[in-house]
């Protein structure tokens, strides 16, 4: 019986609701580092993700189910296998990698056209701001053509996963939007 009530309360407060969040982006953008920065608050040494990592983390009374999918060309085609029930997409861009900005933009827009992601909010991290020669958030936004996005809540945040800057700010925005729109 006790169980029953507590689960009722949980439902009221929305605690038991798990939110699925995908972290996508080209290889080497810093997705895995962001994931573990979120989960354990530390910088871990990573190697290229073959497949995906998934972690569950509690954030502001919410249970987040965060999927970090590998960004290598060979793995990108499988992203779509993990789209269903996704509340939000975090797209990570290496702000220093100007050469591949066009590729990133293409992958981003292609992904957003998927039926299953129509209601998902989008957060873009213009990552690696600690590095010299990094583009600013607005420049990245321009290169990625974010203004073209219609019918979608999106935001772009300058971040540095290594230094831990911008990550929480971005996530806060995302959680607010999700709470507003989907809960």
């Amino acid at each position: 019986m006790g169980n029953f009530f507590s689960s009722m309360f949980d439902r009221l407060w929305g605690v038991n609701k798990e939110l699925r969040i995908l972290i996508l982006g080209l290889d080497g953008a810093g997705k895995t580092t962001i994931l573990y920065r979120l989960q354990i608050g530390e910088v871990v040494t990573t190697k290229p993700t073959i497949g995906f990592n998934v972690e569950t983390l509690a954030y502001k009374n919410l249970k987040l189910n965060v999927w970090d999918l590998g960004g290598q060309t060979s793995i990108r085609p499988y992203w779509r296998c993990y789209y269903s029930n996704t509340a939000a997409v975090i797209f990570v861009v290496d702000s220093t990698d100007q050469d591949r900005m066009a590729t990133a933009s293409k992958e981003l827009h292609m992904m957003l056209q998927e039926e299953e992601l129509q209601d998902a909010a989008l957060l873009v991290f213009a990552n690696k701001q600690d590095q010299p020669g990094a583009l600013s958030a607005s420049e990245v936004s321009k290169q990625l053509n974010l203004v073209e996005l219609k019918d979608r809540s999106w935001s772009i945040v300058a971040s540095s996963a290594i230094k831990g800057e911008g990550i929480t700010e971005g996530l806060d925005w995302l959680i607010d939007v999700i709470k507003e729109e989907q809960l």
Partner: protein, 929 residues
């Protein structure tokens, strides 16, 4: 939870498989849910696994969908769910695409997961890795191998076996960790304190590590010896399987180089007294399988003593294994194990039937002609109590005895026919007995009539069509040449009256053969009238066969000289079935003109009755000795051994089959070469004779093809170099006697280019007189080497290459190349019939055993050893070898009796040969060794 809801998920027990599509749909739905219901997912995966285990499978797209769905369960931290997820991934990895998507997640568990799931994670990791991703797992494997937890270490080690074919380079990089794992004694962390009775680990990871080390090092002899030395000493290996493995390594080393025995003999004798029975057994098994001259008699005696001791231990498996080893020894050297007879006799009544069966068959082998009949009596009492499987083994043993003691055929026959008539048993068992009886008829001629008469009785009441048909065929084949053919006619005709159409048709064919008995018009008439009556049979096939037989009989009556009907009714030859099959397959496959060209059977080798018997006989002999030769028992495999243990001979192996096809293949290859077309058909092709060491840069073997008036030498050349191609490869063969040779070289066909690791053949042709010509050839290989550009695999431009030559061994055409083995039932009688005789005496100084000389003579003369004389008894210093053969061109018979005596000075041989053809006889006798 109530029993009701509990039962709902237990359909598995009922044996009813869940519906495939339902499981598929439910899996997809449940796995994609958020949050995941761990318990429900586990149930669903177990159903999925149940389906897969039962052999169900999914199409690729569905399997892939399932795989992706399962991979989503990584979000749930539950260990039990994770374990079953690993199982699912392991199973699905075989049938699904894109399994690499699980790599990172699994790696994370290998690194950070709990000890409970790490082993599972490691095992499924190997399934998803490929050559390109394996290197990223190297560090994980390294630390898992040296993990203090035995389960984790074992999982990593055993998974590495599977990883070897995928990414050998990666596995090689943790060889030192593997070595560390061999000597590390790992215990389970959660068991506190070990006692003598319950050790807290079996140290199994030592065995696994040793196995992996072997796989990595086994090509390197020196490294392997080092492994044995390193781990045999002291008390390094606690695990008994690991110790057994070490014994096997020694066996492997001895097989490669018998001379290292001196180094290992003390080790082996130490293992004979090991505290583990399995180590004792393995060591005894190895010692007794070694060739006699390599191992001291003391060591063998000690091994047998160990085995004798193991026959009386309480553990059933040990007794079984020991008696099995003894059984194996009994086939080659029964006198060695006579000391074990008291123990073996007490095992006859062992409660385990496997053991008693082996004990009996072993006793049968050690038996001499004196005690055979008493042994058979013991078996007769016993055979009705045991199951079919063991009956078959016993029948098999008895069948072998018929070869060994042809003079004891009476008691053997009595046993067989009694069990056949009175014993219950399935088809395989009865068929086994009938086969044994057939062997008696074929190879022990004096038993023929008795066996045939009893078989006639047997078919009066036989429930198996197949056996009936075979017996009828045998009666038709052998019956007409007996003293009283009409006796069989009555029995056969009974079948026509009483049985179904299949048997009736077989009976008609058998009957018609009796009509061909010469000089018996009464019998001929009665057969004719019987056949006429059969023409009213309700079955088409039976009628057809009777009609055609009558036609033949009519024809041969009007033209007594014509051989056609004679041959059609009484086939004097049969086709080489293996060759015929391959030809037919080829014919069906190369259907160019929708079968308008009829199948050409003339190129298929025909075997006369005698030749067929000789090959059969040889196969039997090889079959018996194959069980003993240690070379064929590769160290890691156990399955082949198990097959043989059942005593079932499951048809010829690929190797033997290949032997059958050899002649046909050569004939095809050579007939496709225009230059040889005019030579006619090949009369005989020899076996491959190696002409270089197998480790040489160019491995060459020679084959001799004899034509009526030509000889073609075929040299198969393998280029083992990796970056050099050979151009214009040819072999210069010069007869040893030089100009005076009766052979004249006609032409040489070189190989244009021999690329690395390719094998090709070049030919040298000679003309010769029609008579038998023996000759030795000195051979030199000539070629131009061209270095290859590694990028293109083509020779560097402008590289002229340089000419080179390479000496290879001589090739001899001996009298044996003109002979094929032939079987005769009664050697001395046939031998006495032959007209020309010749005697030669040899003295062999080298230190050879009698057995080696025997093998050499058999190989040189190509004759068939008879009366079991191809095995030298071990203790005696003298032996008599009897072989028989037939000339390939004239069909002249030849028999040889070779007496040999071994003394301290060497071996003295006295060869007596008798033949229809004086020349053949002297050639063979004078070129024996």
């Amino acid at each position: 939870m109530s029993t009701h809801t509990y039962k709902k998920f237990e359909e598995a027990v009922s044996g009813v498989l869940p519906d495939k599509m339902t499981v598929y749909q439910e899996c997809l739905n449940a796995f994609n849910e958020s949050p995941v219901n761990a318990k429900r997912c586990r149930t669903l995966i177990s159903r999925l696994l149940q389906l897969l285990a039962q052999g169900e499978t999914f199409p690729k797209t569905e399997a892939t969908a399932l795989f992706f769905a399962v991979s989503k369960l990584f979000q749930h931290p539950n260990d039990s769910l994770r374990q079953i997820v690993y199982l699912a991934i392991k199973e699905l990895s075989v049938i699904s695409d894109d399994v690499l998507m699980a790599t990172s997640s699994i790696m994370k568990d290998v690194q950070n997961g709990s000890d409970a799931i790490k082993p599972n994670a490691i095992r499924s990791l190997t399934r998803v890795l490929d050559e390109t991703t394996a290197f990223s797992a190297e560090r994980l494997f390294k630390s898992a191998v040296v993990s203090k937890h035995p389960s984790i270490s074992s999982a990593a080690l055993v998974s590495s076996y599977h990883l070897l074919p995928v990414a050998e380079a990666t596995v090689k990089r943790y060889i030192s960790e593997t070595q560390e794992a061999v000597s590390d004694l790992k215990t389970y962390p959660y068991v506190s304190g070990a006692s003598d009775y319950y050790p807290n680990s079996t140290y199994i990871s030592q065995y696994h590590a040793l196995g992996l080390l072997y796989m990595l090092r086994n090509s390197d002899k020196i490294a392997l010896m080092k492994i044995v030395q390193q781990y045999s000493g002291g008390n390094v290996l606690k695990n008994q399987l690991a110790q057994v493995q070490l014994v096997k390594f020694v066996g492997n080393l001895l097989q490669r180089d018998p001379n290292v025995i001196s180094q290992f003999a003390p080790l082996l004798s130490g293992w004979l007294t090991s505290k583990h029975e399995s180590v004792q057994l393995e060591s005894a098994k190895l010692i007794t399988s070694l060739p006699d001259r390599n191992v001291s008699p003391d060591l063998v005696a000690a091994a047998i003593q160990t085995l004798q001791g193991l026959l009386t231990v309480p553990r059933v498996t040990t007794r079984f294994a020991a008696v099995r080893v003894l059984n194996r020894i009994s086939m080659v050297a029964p006198q060695k194990i006579v000391v074990c007879n008291p123990e073996l006799e007490s095992l006859i009544n062992d409660s385990n039937r496997n053991i008693s069966t082996y004990a009996i068959t072993t006793l049968l082998k050690t038996g001499t002609s004196n005690n055979i009949s008493s042994l058979i009596k013991t078996i007769t009492k016993f055979i009705h109590d045991i199951s079919d499987d063991f009956k078959i083994i016993i029948v098999d043993a008895i069948r072998t005895m018929a070869f060994k003691f042809p003079e004891e055929w009476k008691s053997i026959f009595d046993f067989l026919i009694n069990t056949l008539k009175h014993g219950d048993g399935g088809f395989i068992f009865k068929n086994g007995i009938v086969e044994a009886l057939f062997d008696l008829v074929e190879f022990v001629p004096q038993s023929k009539e008795t066996v045939l008469e009893n078989l006639c009785d047997f078919i009066e009441d036989c429930e198996y069509n197949e056996i009936l048909v075979r017996v009828l065929h045998l009666l038709g084949k052998e019956g007409p040449t007996t003293k009283n053919p009409s006796l069989y006619v009555r029995h056969i005709y009974n079948r026509v009256v009483l049985e179904n159409s299949i048997i009736r048709s077989a009976a008609v064919v058998a009957l018609s053969k009796f009509a061909m008995v010469k000089n018996d018009p009464v019998l001929l008439n009665s057969i004719e009238s019987l056949l006429r009556r059969i023409r009213n049979d309700p079955d088409d096939e039976v009628r057809d066969r009777a009609t055609i037989a009558l036609e033949f009989i009519e024809f041969s009556k009007s033209q007594p000289e014509a051989e056609v009907p004679q041959e059609l009714i009484n086939l004097t030859y049969s086709y080489d079935l293996g060759a015929l099959e391959s030809k037919l397959t080829h014919y069906m496959a190369s259907n160019q003109d929708s079968f308008r060209t009829p199948f050409d059977s003339s190129s298929v080798q025909k075997l006369t009755e005698e030749e067929r018997k000789a090959t059969e006989y040889k196969k039997r002999q090889e079959q018996f000795s194959a069980k003993l030769s240690p070379g064929k028992e590769s160290t890691p495999s156990r399955s082949t051994d198990a097959d043989k243990a059942n005593g079932n001979y499951s048809g010829p192996t690929m190797e033997e089959h290949g032997e059958d096809l050899r002649a046909t293949r050569y004939a095809e290859e050579l007939s496709s070469i225009d230059e040889f077309a005019e030579f006619g058909a090949i009369v005989n092709s020899s076996k491959d004779v190696p002409l270089t060491e197998t480790e040489a840069e160019f491995v060459v073997s020679g084959v001799k093809h004899i034509y009526n008036s030509h000889v073609v030498l075929q040299f198969n050349i393998t280029n083992t170099l990796s970056d050099v191609a050979l151009d214009n490869v040819s072999v210069a063969s010069t007869p040893e006697v030089g100009e005076t040779s009766p052979l004249n070289e006609l032409l040489t066909i070189p190989i244009d280019r021999l690329a690395p690791s390719e094998t090709a053949a070049c030919y040298v042709a000679f003309s010769k007189s029609e008579s038998i010509v023996t000759e030795g050839f000195l051979n030199t290989l000539y070629f131009t080497t061209r270095e290859l550009d590694p990028a293109t695999g083509e020779p560097f431009e402008g590289d002229e290459g340089f000419q080179d030559e390479y000496e290879i061994d001589s090739l001899f055409i001996t009298a044996g190349d003109y002979i094929k083995g032939a079987f005769v039932g009664n050697f001395s009688a046939s031998y006495d019939e032959l007209a020309h005789s010749e005697v030669a005496v040899y003295n062999i100084k080298e230190d050879n055993s009698l057995q080696e000389i025997i093998d050499k003579i058999i190989a040189n003369t190509n004759c068939l050893p008879l009366e079991n004389s191809q095995f030298a008894t071990l203790d005696s210093n003298s032996h008599t070898l009897k072989v028989f053969g037939k000339g390939i061109t004239g069909g002249a018979r030849i028999g040889l009796v070779v007496r040999m005596i071994k003394s301290s000075k060497g071996i003295a041989l006295k060869a007596e040969g008798k033949s229809d053809d004086a020349e053949l006889c002297s050639d063979v006798v004078n070129e024996l060794v």
